[in-house]
Amino acid sequence: MGYDPKDPLKDRITDIGPKDYKEFLPSVIKENYGKWLYHEILEPGVLMHVSETGAKVYTVRVGGCRLMSVTHIREICEISDKHCDGYLRFTTRNNVEFMVDDEAKLKPLMDDLEGREFAGGSKKFPRGGTGAGLTNIVHTQGWIHCHTPAIDASGVVKAVMDELYDDFQDMRFPAQVRISLACCLNMCGAVHCSDIAILGIHRMPPMLDHEHLDNMCEIPLAIAACPTGAIKPATVNGKKSVAVKNEKCMFCGNCYTMCPSMPLADEEGSGVALLVGGKISNRISQPKFSKVVVPFIPNEPPRWPSTVEAIKKILYAYVDDAKKYERLGDWAERIGWERFFEKTELPFTGHLIDDYRFAYTTWRQSTQFKF
């Protein structure tokens, strides 16, 4: 029994797919599948869904790091076994949801969750993330695992969420606010359509490891990878390699994806850009892209104070000024981007003016503007 390296194909099972979700549904969910009539948010982090059968399911949503140890998962399981018949779920934004089928079970569950803290003092299971407030920050690997990040992921998220903690547990915003983080332009996540996106960017052209480049990379693939045609073949110290026309580089990192001998990351060069005003939902306005409003903030581990500060400025300018139901991007468009920069006190620089493919469509062809 078990894998046998000498006979790797023994008992080999493939293409069986994921577990059947039906096995994992709590009974109140299974019984009322497709029968839900309406919901109510009883308090931050607590949802009640009511079925046409009269049944109700109470959900307690708690935030958390998606980077989780098995020890932590086991703790989650323990809680679930105690209160929720051994079922739970994760949301699309990495929150954990505990569900009970009776209001009476709610209080004990919530008390239990509330009490738990990590050794360092942080909460294990902050309740919140519902309604017109802040929910968890969707993010990527960062320095924990990826090879192309310009910034860390989990650390930045922790620093931001600590500062915005109260708003995770409140519902005082005009509308929901989705913050996302991606550690490089590959943007693993929907950060291009987030209310606030934290994006790792590089600002140095690839460094060329001429000595090993020809060994490590398919030079033609590296050349073809560059969207701006900045890379040309070259011979350096008698070795085949490439040359990069630095002025044509826009630091997308695509060459590095194809060729390990062209790293971009740098202490001074890499850092944070902030994008805002994107959304996914079709509610009232159509989905839209986030726009770059802070082109660069240096990497400041361990707590990225300038990044946190800039996010707070943006977020609270929005919260103070927007109308009910108005998403951040809708607000910016209503007041005009000139006002956005005024109200958020962010400097506007030429970097924010588009010069890529659709640039023209973002310039202003009108005399309508505000002084």
């Binding site: 099972i13 020890t71 009910k324």
Partner: protein, 435 residues
Amino acid sequence: MTKRKTPMLDELEKGKWPSFISDMKQEAEAREKTSVDLQTPKECVDDLLGLLELTYVDKVVHWKHGGIVGVFGYGGGVIGRYCDRPDEFPGVRDFHTMRVNQPSSKFYSTEYLRQICELWERRGSGLTNMHGSTGDIILLGTTTPQLEEVFWELTDNLDQDLGGSGSNLRTPSCCIGKARCEFACYDTQAICTDFTMEYQDELHRPAFPYKFKFKFDGCPNGCVASIARSDMSIIGTWRDDIRIDQEAVKAYVGGELKPNGGAHSGRDWGAFDIQKEVVDLCPTGCMGWDGSKLNIDNKECTRCMHCINVMPRALRIGEDTGASILFGAKAPILEGAQMSTLTVPFMKIEEPYEELKDLVEKVWDYWSEEGKNRERLGELMQREGFQKFLEVCELDADPRMIQEPRSNPYIFWKEEDVEGGWDRDIKAFRKKHQK
């Protein structure tokens, strides 16, 4: 206590938000103490913390580029990763992640989760991502020899397969849908599982020009963000009328029911004003409120969900439900980010989903044929044009597919569009028109 001092990381133990550092430390400690017969370096979490601390000092990542590893017969599901300081951090010399295909909408039994924990404690780092951005359970870091071991145990013992990576179909994912949401227009969980099973081969064996993602949103609220993150976005909608309970509307107006299910209760926004908050915000202006009756001109409604979101007890989605199918979303590399473009305004979504699968396969055939290496479907659509894409899908052009008609007159007419074709005789022309 961790092996090394991590003063910078320790800063991330402060504050109220759950600290991943604290959690990693607790795992490092647990590994230290455990009686489990660990198949991976005991100190791997400790070394990971050390490496991360070093990265916090250097501000440049300490992982090497890629690394081609995997399990036999599969072209995806594993992301190879090697540390660039194995001398100092041997516990994370090789530290590959495995992507495990999550169940639809991520419900779990604790029994199952415990099995995963047991496996990953023994054969991995004991660290996970619950979940990755695509939706997989990410088992974060193990050594090369353990990859096959984990795979064997997953499949043979846990009845659980890997998810996608590489130029494959990626692990499909969906919103919670009918399991707990009154807005679901079709069964997102069922189809997500069905498609995942149907296309196991595409998921595990790279045969595409690049990655391909399905995501299933039950309604236009888009809780799984399919319009931004999937090459094919299936978004629930309906084509009949919004169901209205006029008594409940009055209850909202009278203040007996909380608007938007109480989503704004953290601030005093004043009494609910149906005119201002619903009727005036309707993007099509198709609603009316005369003080006692709410009227919706459903023909003009674009099903944006706003009124329903605000008054879920009074308004319900229609009964003739299905989905809109959109194609082409992706992140910025190379040609800039894209959202999916509406291609099939409405399709019924019912088992066995033949119509939709037909469409998927037409699209894949086209993309496989015409797509360049590392060209996402959305980029191909842009390169060859939406008309071409419609031909591929065997669909007629429809104004619903566009935001507005073209403003440039640069139409690529075809020869068959022109009566008599394109052949002309310069001699005949010169007879009428001297040089």
